[in-house]
Assembly symmetry: C2
Homo-oligomer: 372 residues x 2
DNA sequence: GCAGCCGTGGCAATCGGTTGCCATACGTTG
DNA sequence: CAACGTATGGCAACCGATTGCCACGGCTGC
């Protein structure tokens, strides 16, 4: 009863004090009724709950956060929200967070390490933990962030920070296997950004798989991991043809297919192309892209779940990264090796002229980088 | 000077009290030095700033929010983060928010009005305002939300809530014009969800443009605004052919093109197809899609900017919605009307069988609804 | 019958900033 | 020199919830 505060000025949200007055107990009891079930007599608790319902009381997250530090928010930091690789990661993270009563704070760092540091600095005081996806920051900057708050890193490996990654090794192995089964004895890998941890991983995996499966492999690049990058790669490939290509990622593969099409080279008749990620759009490009499906949504979910576990006090799982499985999605961009001399191409006088209208330059989306 | 508090236990973030001690002033002065420039003597302010830098002080947003209500956060509520229409909207919103020092809170409502209400209820106490994009809630629920916090609605019109929308009328007019110029005298509109405000708007615009430009129009549907929906629409279209199709959105158009391709109908030789939105992927589907480019990013930016203006006290701009301009992007899916009898198609025994391997079912992404 | 324990609820300090009000010191003006 | 205005900084009361500690009443056990 001891509440001397004036009644809430109509318009602002009800507080525990209003509920306390309404139910005839002290504010502290109201607080406990919600946050510490069992600590309050059940009939009292029921009365309080009823009063709260009547008033439409909702606990104010800011007020709760102040003494406890529990903001019920986590941040997902990524280099570019509009990169399709992130779509499912975001969704997975969002689902996992919401399911646990947490709210997801999105920070787009626009591919800049500086902006990323700034975004983190701004987010840190408001969140309980961070998921860093394809961070553009240096290792030491990531470790620094991990000192301030629990952190989980996606698609990059640290020994002392928990991380979840795609099983690129198995993915590339499956891709090479698939091409091998189709009769291809020589494969070209189109590399992504040099600075990308994932690219190194993927190339190594391709090489190892090639060794083991007795398929020759070579590497072209690096290229920007975008449709534009794939277009650029076309020239190089035409100068040194190959019947099978594995690209660093889908965007690169899609760009390459467009480039080849313009040059009159048919996919998959003349060249088989395999992508990586299975991003949105890889099924409706033409031909539909055979690709290694990265566990995008699972990556988001797993990262958030590990983070939440840390927040609950479970010691972080460092040392070995959590590796999530991939699967090969076979579509229309791969086919048995053609009997035609591969050298025969590149001679074509170009693609059949496009239909009417301006040919689609598509430059609008040609430059979306992929995560490293 | 009057600070009796014990020094901060190393490990937690520095507070104004630490800065106050360090710079030899009262905490209130520190506070004012940051939040009220001019109120504090400039040399004092400088001294305080230096101390703050030295300590790495950052104002705690929760603590600030408690007395003031200023959380520096706004929520962007959307029906499905993985819908490509949102990519640029999100990015535009993110940029505008960040530029103003605000943080964006993303809420995905999974296409459910109930989840949307829940998400809003959870977000409201934490944010200063909301942007509702393609809300699935009833008008009254939206108005209810707008009573609790400043709200801006995207792609839906209210007379009493500020909103920003795409200029569908002009967009559809441009599409019909374009087809008319190519010689098409009859156009089929593939409708989106009936409940969609945008669909009603787009269909009406097509009809009006048709009337004015003397092109016959008819409407097929409704279909789900997804690739799957477009596939479904194919059957209907084959039964009642037309040389030109305008789809509710790109996903529907892309699905249709895939369906037509499988049925052996060539785009654009036999049918011209125009989409709407210019989403990610509409340039690399085959043929590259001619489409009305919605001002996606501008929509996000404008919505946030209007919201921020409201937060600064500018009276909300209600009454007439803010209409953002579109532009027609001509690519490869439209061509002059073919001289072949349109009735000739539908006879084909189906598409040439796809190349090797399983034909891409692509069911993974066939069901992404678009905003209504 | 009294000490001691348990269940329950209240008091009050606290989290970190914000801000209305007041005190002081200085400069100005008549 | 007195009266006054202004610039500046401090005091203390908030914002709303949490939580350690204590008080009170009822119960048990010896």
């Amino acid at each position: 009863m001891g509440d001397q505060r004036r009644p809430r000025p109509a318009g602002s949200a009800p507080t525990i004090y209003d509920v306390a007055r309404e139910s005839g107990v002290a504010a502290s009891t109201v607080s406990r009724a919600f946050s510490r079930p069992g600590r309050v007599n059940s009939v009292t608790a029921e009365r309080i709950r009823a009063a709260a319902d009547r008033l439409g009381y909702r606990t104010n997250p800011m007020a709760r956060a102040l003494p406890t530090g529990r903001t019920a928010m986590i941040a997902l930091v990524l280099s570019d929200v509009t990169n399709p690789v992130y779509f499912e990661i975001i969704r997975g993270a969002e689902r996992a967070a919401t399911a646990a009563g947490y709210t997801l704070l999105l920070a787009d760092t626009q591919e800049s390490g500086r902006l990323e540091r700034e975004a983190i600095e701004r987010a840190v005081p408001a969140v309980e933990g961070l998921v860093l996806s394809s961070s553009r920051m240096s290792d030491s900057a990531v470790r620094m962030a991990a000192k301030q708050r629990p952190v989980v890193v996606v698609n990059r490996v640290f020994s002392d920070v928990p991380c979840v990654v795609t099983d690129s090794a198995r993915g590339m192995r499956r891709a090479v296997e698939h091409l091998g089964e189709l009769g291809h004895r020589s494969i070209t890998y189109l590399a992504g950004p040099e600075a990308s941890w994932a690219d190194g991983m993927r190339w190594r995996s391709v090489r190892e798989a090639g060794l083991e499966l007795e398929v020759r492999v070579r590497r072209l690049g690096p290229y920007r991991p975008t449709v534009g990058g794939g277009l650029a790669a076309t020239t190089d490939l035409l100068q040194a043809p190959s019947t099978a290509v594995v690209a660093y990622n889908d965007l690169l593969a899609i760009g390459l297919m467009r480039g080849l099409d313009r040059a009159g080279v048919r996919v998959p008749r003349d060249v088989s192309v395999v992508g990586f990620d299975n991003v949105f759009g890889s099924d409706f490009c033409t031909p539909a892209l055979t690709t290694v499906a990265a566990p995008l949504r699972a990556l988001g979910t797993a990262a958030v779940e590990q983070l939440l576990a840390q927040l609950r006090g479970v010691p972080p799982r460092t040392g070995k990264p959590t590796v999530l499985p991939v699967r090969l999605v076979v579509r229309d961009s791969t086919a048995p090796r053609s009997r035609r001399k591969t050298l025969a191409w590149g001679t074509g006088s170009g693609a059949a002229p496009g239909p009417a209208g301006a040919s689609g330059t598509g430059s609008e989306v040609a430059d979306r980088p992929a995560p490293g």
